[in-house]
Symmetry: D2
Subunit: 380 residues, 4 copies
């Protein structure tokens, strides 16, 4: 693992989620840009002293010398955004598989480089768009795929948060600090941190591509260098229309990613904060509430059934969605190691192409926000 030092949020989530199924073991890491902190975290994790590294480059250099059965199989990258690219590039070049946090890189040029590198090296590349790991999201995707909603007409997707409603970054908050620093986060603030999740969720469930964006980015907190509010109109490649709004200044909103997909035969609704439920509606019929863990869910969607660890009524949540991405990624890595072809179900995790689209989305939104014209086509 690279990143995830003391006080880091997402690195700790990666570790817990990776541990859940008992199939992944952290054996080495460069956890912090400060070597002392990296040592501290490595000790907390009870790693062997020789497997705690001061830098990721050292980690790569040393690990590669170990016998295959001992060395790390893959690297999880959970650093601030600006480090994703060089670390991922070097790991791939060294022959390691990679699980990378989003957004994948700071620029689409870098993103395309990584995509080419993945193709060239044949390594497995996972991108942690964790929200697509929820079983009810997978059920939703299968409903659209099976045409139960008919032709998709409209998508509304939102991701309001409120934690950056004040200048938290000036209080010493590590989380707020790098997220509002363009050097570490890239050109997008709110749009990069959470808007991409919303866009990814919409494309994942509908199987459609966003083709045009009309965006308004605002920085409400004085002195902040990046946007903290993002509102977009969208067009999709089948003619569907969309609304995407995300915010970091919506006080009291916690992590309220939610989506409504409307087709000409029916519609669906899902809320990340209540992830075990999927609501579907058709003309002149009672609304249906699909509940995770039931036989009828697994019967409808193998991916949803597979992504379920507990029976109905025993709620699952964020860690399990995360772990689902890890499980599919790991199974794919195992297949590649064994020279086998991974199943479609195993391949159901966000990959380098999702990473490219995510960075293109950010760049397009930023361009649109600066444009006087209504529609900006998605960059390619």
């Amino acid at each position: 693992m690279v990143g995830g030092g003391p006080g880091a949020f997402i690195g700790d989530v990666h570790r817990k989620a990776a541990r859940l199924d008992g199939e992944i073991k952290i054996v080495a890491g460069a956890f912090d840009i400060d070597p002392a902190k990296s040592q501290q975290m490595g000790k907390e994790l009870a790693l062997g002293q020789d497997r705690i590294y001061d830098t990721y480059t050292e980690m790569i250099r040393q690990e590669i010398k170990l016998p295959e059965s001992e060395r790390i199989d893959f690297v999880a990258i959970t650093t601030p955004n600006n480090w994703h690219f060089p670390i991922a590039r070097d790991c791939l070049n060294a022959g390691f598989h990679v699980m990378c946090e989003k957004p994948m890189t700071l620029t689409s040029a870098e993103a395309r480089q990584l995509a080419a590198l993945v193709k060239k090296t044949g390594r497995v590349f996972g991108l942690m768009h964790n929200y697509t790991g929820y079983p009810m999201v997978k059920l939703a995707k299968d409903m659209v795929k099976k045409r139960d909603l008919g032709r998709i007409r409209k998508v509304v997707v939102q991701y309001p948060q409120g934690w950056l409603a004040t200048a938290l970054e000036r209080t010493g908050s590590m989380q707020a600090g790098w997220r509002t620093d363009p050097k570490q986060s890239g050109a997008g603030g709110c749009v990069g941190d959470i808007g991409t999740h919303a866009a990814n969720l919409a494309e994942y469930i509908t199987g459609l591509n966003i083709t045009h964006v009309c965006a308004e980015l605002t920085t409400f907190v004085k002195g902040r260098k990046l946007d903290d509010d993002c509102n977009c109109l969208l067009k999709f490649n089948n003619g569907a229309k969309g609304v995407l709004h995300a915010s970091q200044i919506s006080i009291g909103e916690e992590n309220n990613l939610a989506i409504w997909v409307h087709g000409d035969k029916g519609s669906l609704e899902w809320h990340q904060e209540h992830p075990n439920y999927l609501y579907t509606r058709a003309m002149d019929a009672p609304e249906k509430v699909w509940k995770r863990g039931n036989g009828y869910v697994a019967a409808y969607s193998a991916a949803a059934g597979r992504g379920t660890r507990l029976p109905f009524g025993h709620p699952e949540a964020f860690f399990e969605a995360f772990a689902n991405n890890y499980r599919n990624f790991t199974e794919t890595v195992k297949c590649v190691i064994k020279g086998e072809k991974p199943s479609a179900l195993a391949l159901d995790f966000p990959d380098v192409n999702d990473g490219v689209r995510g960075v293109l989305f950010i760049e397009t939104v930023v361009a649109s926000a600066q444009s006087r014209l209504k529609w900006t086509p998605m960059k390619k």
Copy 2:
């Protein structure tokens, strides 16, 4: 009453709501463009035979001849949109007060004419933006006014419906028929029928004015002549940003008008389909659920308290919100008749200026939808 013949929806609502408090009595009407139907409805309502009219012009002509104590005090206009203007104009000119359905007129030129006429005649003019009649909406307005949310930064308002997801207008549905006919509805379909309600609600609660619109109108049902889906980005006069989306093709959505208002100190949320609750949030504090009918609501907002007929837990709904507009309108009419000055609470009903703004909003959205530029300033 003009309009509200057999099979009409909103005319019947007007009658029931107007009756609720026992202060309004329908004594005359021209209920349908078909005189036979007007007669039928008048008889159902047990009106005197001489007070059932074939046309509204006849009604005006005859009523004005009656002694003041017998003649109608005001006229409720519940016809399709295209009739609002001439009827309202003629009623005002004849000296009657008017309660008119929205949108007030087909064009802003007509709207301004009415505004001038109201000023000139001194008659009371009510516009039935019924959703602002809900007590919890009035509570929300007072919260913003008292600066409990701080400076408003962002407004999200939605009004999804699904009943026009198919070509219902081709099945003989009266409701669908006139709403999708530009001759009767004007230039806006979805935006005119329900988008205006959303815009009005946002302006009513926040006390702000929309200054710019970036709109996308779509007609999803083939052959339909007006838009059935409307998505907008908004700018407000204090720098706040907004998202407004409305739809008539969102299957399974019923009448899901809802609003989220975010300030720099807190936020609020309200849903028309669950109108007895208002949700408020502040930084680092539990969410609060305000429930209609409680002492603490009336203590905070006199307007909310006044708009309440039942104790907490005994739900109120659509009719009562409607009746609240009627009650305030009626009290104002009574004051004007007696030559008294109505109280601020009595004047709390949408009026001709809201009507003008509504028509301007429709025209601006239609113009924006046709523009290549992102932002279209609100027409004046």
Copy 3:
């Protein structure tokens, strides 16, 4: 109308609900035990001076002298409980139809007398168990009737309130005063005021009879003379089991009547505070949410369809449920006046037999609460 003087709660509700459909007109009344207050209310209602009476006996005496076309058709009784019996008896004897608040009488002996009198006089007797007037309750009843839930096994019904959690009756509150006074309320406090509603709802929906009760009554507020909390186990005549709990001291609960009915094929759930929704569940299938006003509701249940005034998404609530009872009662009265047989749909309102059962339920609960034995059979 008898009762419903200045400051009264339920009398005002009766008037508003009765007005809604425009078919009922209040023409006479004895509104308060204080003649001055009766006069005051009569004037507020703009009644003719000669139709405002000082006492109900005077009202009966005078009204009966009027020609049939002018006199009142029925009497609505909305006094404290102790007056229900003598007024209803005298009205029936005078030949008037009666709509009476619940509980019908203070004792089952009186209740049986009234039942006999209704039979003898052939007058229409309505009992205002208003909660069965909700359309979704009628839908629930029809679901059980059509055996969609299979054989009923278990019923959980609750009615928690919190408004009497303190000694409100000692602050001069009229509502709290008579409800906690055994002379005016009878032997049951909480059980009489709201427990009966819960029992009535359970029997109405399931079509079953409660046969045995195991009850615990508690008075939590010191000095109060009647119970303010009521918990019961129930047995039904088909072998089903039940739980009924009601309370007036559950702080923050408003009027949270709710029911869960479980059969061997499925179950249903309904909440009075969110009355437009009915939830149904079957084995291994998504939950269904039935929403008032939809075609599929009316297609399933004619009673539910008939009890609906607004389209889906335009919420209806307490007044409309009340008005539904009035509408069916009125239609039945009209039939009786015309000598016609009322339809089954018109007869769908609580009547004198429900009144008898309600009083028997109260007496049985009070007896059970005093018994050392677990089960007390329902009195007959």
Copy 4:
């Protein structure tokens, strides 16, 4: 670990939850009464061949021979109920700490024996009443403790499920099989499996003891040997009253444990299926919704804060509650090993005394269900 063989539900949950924080490692086990299956599971878990045992007695015998640094620290018992007692007894006698599933034993005699043994051996004994591991349950407990609700008057606790609404045990279902077999489950069916959780939750949050029970047990599914439905009235040691109902035949209910606690100053409500929220209410004030992960929660309740791994809006669920019990248990074990005194926060996990009370509750309910008298005192 003893139990948790192939196909077992709760054993797998124990493993995943125990792994989450990376502090517990399964190194040995006797996973199934069938040695082949035990071997199979041990291999799946990648245990050393010599640490997979055919029987728990063998496990104890062998492990005890290992050096302290290598041998197991504690034993997790996840077998059917009838095995809990002998295994726990033998483990304690051998000097191992124990984490045991509930109910602790089949009889109160055995339960008391275990309690004595824990006292005598000084070993740490955890009982997996997992629902008290939820942070919002801990917040609720602290609210009662700080007297924010005043004196507790009434508790309503429910635990409806529907999965045993048919004779699932005759279809070969392992989960249904042992749960409906008195030899493996003891005298209580529904009451033993889930009723105890409800009772434990009520006592945990309120800090009160149930003193009297009035119970009705029913077996709705023909041929079933144990109750599948359980309804109780309760009395608590401070005079509070209660209602507890649990069911395995409530179709569509999944795992709907929920509790309402009413005091004379306020009340609270919590639902296991939506565990991240706690609702509180006071007189004449808006309802408050407390949301897991916020600073104000941790500031109010150190136990709730400590039991939280993710920030607000990133939902936590069943596994994390389970893991909280493991974490506190483990920290206590570590302290005991080091000879230190565990903190009050570390000791916040259900222990052998909760186990005793649970078995006494089951025995009391079964006795009450057979009694003609209303109240049966809790066995001691």
